[in-house]
């Protein structure tokens, strides 16, 4: 079978495979048709009680926050493009567009139900769980709620918000494996992460699984989203090995500078803005003064951590390298944001400054550490999302208010849970990447890598020269 048929086929296979036989297409479709009817009827409604009001506000604000988180996809794409060579731009953009598209479909068909099979009633899990507390349900599509009996918010809004998180976890890896992984291999990876790996560990806490039972706290996903993405990326970077020329035969480190730092900075600004959907949106309920207050208080701690992260990373880089390194300041912003994500709801303003500042410093440290270990992570995804994600989980245990009625060592639970999630992401992905490598589907040839993935994988340049594109007369 010709090479270029391999990839689409395999992707479809993977997709079909994990969707599985028990994909109950019928029922949801019905549900949706009723739903559509509801949509029709919509305009009539004119009576508003408290339940309806709460449902309305929660649903609408959650929708807006979902849009903000989806916007982060643009930010991730720009950061990765900017911090890599021009010759890999098309490939990076293709990965970022397609992991979102594939992520949406896989999360719809598999991930969503797997991650939210239903919380346990006083310790007893609903039958929907395949392995109670560890593996959720296998079913497809969004089961639609009936606004006539309003819950807390609409299920479509919930899906949009959650799928945006899944896409975030997936896209983090793209940066770590940039410049050398086959496009088809990346598609397969992203299908697996959004379809299985992320939802399963997600269910352990947010789905009401065993980590939740332990009392583990991860408000918006320092661990469940960023640590997962960061460690999956680390596995990829290790299995792939460094880009050609990144380290010389005699072991010297030869940095490969990004080709457009303006794109990278734009991306960070977009991510900062998107994070106001990521963290405050995770309050999930907004109606009522207490919730509105909490939502914006979370926005405050998030902002302080981002600012502290930028300052600490810049100053540290300035002292270490005697130059104020912009790329460090940019990653410092992200490090601060990742670190506060788990605890933005339960720390003070001072504490959020401290958490963010340490996050910024960890980014610098992590970059240096990877370089020492000769692990090539082109955008520094592990220092930012992996390391700061772990720090976010731990910081929750150190600074965060202990949940009411919690017994035992909160810090202990935070550390152990964070470790488990990081290990889960790292080893499952290590297996995948080793498998792809074994069958020779993981990395492009040295010639292709030299020419750049744009030409060798996609057959086009991102920035054709004027001379070529100026057009000709005949």
């Amino acid at each position: 079978m010709v090479q270029w048929l391999r990839a689409p086929m395999l992707t479809c296979l993977v997709l079909a495979g994990i969707v599985g036989v028990n994909m109950m297409m019928a029922s949801p479709t019905f549900a949706q048709d009723d739903a559509a009817a509801v949509v029709e009827a919509a305009v009539e409604t004119v009576e508003y009680n408290d339940a309806d009001y709460q449902y309305t506000i929660n649903t609408l604000i959650m929708f807006i926050c979902a849009v903000l988180v989806l916007f982060m996809q643009a930010g991730f794409a720009m950061v990765e493009v900017g911090l890599n060579s021009a010759k890999n731009t098309i490939n990076i953009l293709a990965k970022n567009v397609m992991d979102l598209a594939i992520g949406v479909i896989l999360y719809l068909l598999v991930g969503f139900a797997l991650m939210y099979p239903g919380a346990p009633e006083d310790g007893v899990y609903p039958d929907s769980w395949v392995m109670p507390g560890y593996v959720g349900a296998f079913s497809s599509f969004v089961t639609l709620d009936d606004p006539a009996e309003p819950g807390s918010y609409s299920s479509p809004a919930d899906f949009l918000f959650q799928v945006a998180f899944a896409a975030t976890a997936a896209t983090i890896v793209s940066g770590s494996v940039a410049g050398r992984m086959k496009f088809s291999a990346y598609l397969i990876y992203s299908a697996l992460l959004t379809g299985l790996i992320y939802p399963i560990s997600g269910s352990w806490k947010w789905g009401g699984g065993f980590l939740n039972e332990w009392g583990f706290q991860d408000f918006a996903g320092s661990v469940l989203v960023h640590t997962v993405g960061g460690f999956a990326g680390l596995a990829g970077a290790i299995v792939l090995g460094p880009r050609i020329g990144r380290y010389t035969s005699d072991g010297r480190s030869v940095p490969i500078p990004g080709h457009n730092i303006a794109f990278a900075a734009l991306g960070v600004f977009i991510l900062w803005v998107g994070w106001y959907g990521f963290n405050p949106g995770s309050q999930l309920t907004y109606a009522g003064g207490a919730n509105a207050f909490a939502t914006t208080y979370i926005g405050l701690t998030t902002t302080l951590a981002a600012a502290a992260g930028a300052v600490s990373a810049l100053v540290l880089a300035w002292v270490l390298f005697s130059k104020p390194d912009l790329t460090m300041a940019l990653n410092g912003v992200l490090g601060g944001l990742v670190a506060i994500t788990a605890n933005c709801d339960r720390v003070s303003q001072v504490e959020s400054l401290i958490i963010g500042a340490i996050g910024g410093a960890l980014v610098v440290a992590g970059v240096i550490l990877l370089d020492k270990l000769k692990i090539d992570d082109p955008v520094g995804a592990w220092p930012v999302h992996g390391l700061c994600g772990v720090w976010g989980g731990v910081a929750t245990g150190i600074f965060g208010d202990v949940p009411d009625g919690f017994e035992g060592s909160f810090l202990g639970v935070q550390c152990l849970s964070t470790l488990i999630v990081a290990a889960w992401a790292f080893f499952t992905m290590l297996a995948l990447f080793l498998g792809l490598k074994a069958v020779g589907m993981l990395r492009v040839s040295p010639e292709e890598e030299q020419a750049g993935l744009d030409i060798s994988e996609h057959g086009m340049h991102a920035y054709p020269s004027d001379a070529v594109s100026a057009g000709a007369i005949h």
Binding site: A467, A470, A472, I473
Partner: protein, 115 residues
């Protein structure tokens, strides 16, 4: 052996290439450059004052050829590079430089067969 340098209009690259391949000149190197010549540069306002955009985008061709190919190459460039019948200011120039030697990196061949 000669080293031919030609400066042409960007839009003319395709037609010059076509003309060159007709005379079996298939190897060449292209550089983007900017030129001052008789052709006046366009001027435009920038934040309110005229900035003379007097450097015009051009394309430079570098072609190493054996003696017998020099004239055909020149003719081909003129044929493909001239605007309309009697040409237009800005069509550019061809410079012919002597060349002592040519080496093919791949094989190490030297001299005319390496061209």
């Amino acid at each position: 052996m000669k080293f031919v340098i030609a400066i042409i209009q960007p839009g003319k690259l395709e037609s010059v290439k076509a003309a060159l391949s007709k005379v079996e000149v298939v190897r060449l190197t292209v550089l983007e450059c900017q030129g001052f010549g008789r052709q006046k540069g366009k001027t435009g306002p920038h934040l309110g004052h005229d900035s003379s955009v007097n450097l015009l985008r051009k394309v430079q061709l570098q072609i190493a050829v054996n003696e017998e190919f020099v004239q055909p190459t020149i003719d081909a460039i003129i044929a493909g590079g001239r605007s309309g019948e009697e040409g237009r200011i800005g069509d550019g120039k061809i410079f012919v430089l002597p060349m002592d030697d040519c080496i093919r990196i791949r094989t190490g061949e030297t001299g005319s067969e390496a061209i």
